[in-house]
Amino acid sequence: MPASSIDTFLACSIMIALVLSAMVSTSNNLSPSINELSHKNDAERFQQLAQQLLLNKGTPINWGSLRDVVPESLGLADSASSLPYELDVDKVSRLNRQNIYSLSYSQLWQLLGVSDVSFRIEIKTLFNLSTTLISKTSGVNETTYQFDVYAEKSGTPVLALLHGYVVVRDYVNNFASSTSSNGHSSILVTIPNSVSGTAILLTFAKAESNSQIVTFNVYNFSHNSSEPWPNRTFTRLNPLNYVLNVTFTYPSEEVLKALVFTYNYNFSLTEKSRSAQTVEYDIPRLLDSSPMLLVTTGLNESSSFAEWVSYPQVPLETGADFDSSDTGAKTVSFSHIVAINSVLYKIVTKWGGSA
């Protein structure tokens, strides 16, 4: 074989190797960009789905208040409002699985109408409030409780105005305060010893800077009795369409009082209807910029209970559980600020590739 042929063969081999390595390198370099482009398309699609969920009213437009109706299409926007990102109190409440009229994730998924997408919806207040019992001083006629209330957002103290109520059986009292620069406030509550049972301390906190930013906390404690009963032990409270449905757990229960509380107001609820295991009360349409807390107190034989539910029924989480999912599918989340009955909340929607 002539030497020139060997040289040509070597040169061709080097060129082929060069072309192949160039192809591999180019492919490696471009694949992240191609993946990113494909992911970007997914993200845009998920963004549109999130917008559709928050800006559309669904079909029928008042599906939230129709307790037995499963809507034809899903949308959470308030049918009575023309402003964007205003959500309907009943549509939101029907996302909460603790409400007997709630829609299951399977129903929500079918209503969204996108078979290859799974999703999760989380709604919460814009800052947190926590309550701690500091001390208890028993007198002859009354007992004084001292509580520490702390308002914060991700560990940062929040300046807030506080207004709250204490409820035991048919006794109701209220207090007002504000948090200091460290987010804490000390609350003193006095309850007469003539009443006893599970007591609840309802505290509303309104951000000093914006009256639409309101949160709440409910603290159960016992007054002249044994340990307080956990919420939802005796009744299941289901607010919808400005009617509170109270379903009893035990047949011997009796409701002493049904009340509604907001930041500024509290009223007794009017009974609407009654059957063996349920009572329904009308909820007034209050214009106060505040979530509503609905409270029932009652008796089950010798046990005195006090139970509550918020309306809209938040905080809530519903949908696919992406945290425990091991599919490795990439999820995209979107955060929005929405208003429900003039109060601002944070809604986070999470979207994933397959249902």
Binding site: I6, I14, A22, S25, H39, L126, N210, H336
Partner: protein
């Protein structure tokens, strides 16, 4: 063993290798683009926060009342924790109105998104303000 003609072809091949590899090496960094998706999300969130704050006239009231502390507190509560922001209010003549800094960072960074929002007050003497909101995720 090799004649001159063959050596030239090998030199050609090596030259071609060096040219093509240098092109690949030089173009590789260009394929990494900034995270446009995160910036786009931030822009949409910032716009939506301003719209919500303006819905019932709160934004205009805070600006007219020169209540910069309350405006900062509202933005702190409405924006996600950790997001750097700086908000500047301009009047009709594009003169800066806010005398205090409204934000948690004077320089949110080179990858900050800028949102411009026109706020119209709901008071009897209607006024227009241009709000410039800079937002950035932490590095």
């Amino acid at each position: 063993m090799f004649d001159n003609k063959g050596q030239i072809k090998i030199i050609e091949a090596f030259l071609a290798i060096s040219v093509m590899f240098s092109v690949l090496v030089l173009t590789a960094p260009m394929s990494s683009t900034p995270d446009l998706e995160k910036q786009e999300k931030l822009k949409k969130l910032g716009t939506q926060v301003l719209i919500k704050l303006d819905n019932n006239g709160t934004l205009g009231k805070l600006i007219e009342g020169e209540n910069w502390t309350a405006l900062k507190q509202s933005m702190d509560l409405l924006l996600p924790t950790g997001v750097f922001y700086n908000l500047t209010v301009y009047d009709e003549n594009m003169q800066k109105v806010n005398t205090q800094e409204v934000g948690n960072s004077s320089q949110p960074g080179p990858e900050a998104v800028v949102i411009q929002y026109l706020c119209v007050t709901q008071s009897s003497d209607t006024r227009f303000y241009t709000i410039q909101l800079q937002l950035a995720w932490p590095e």
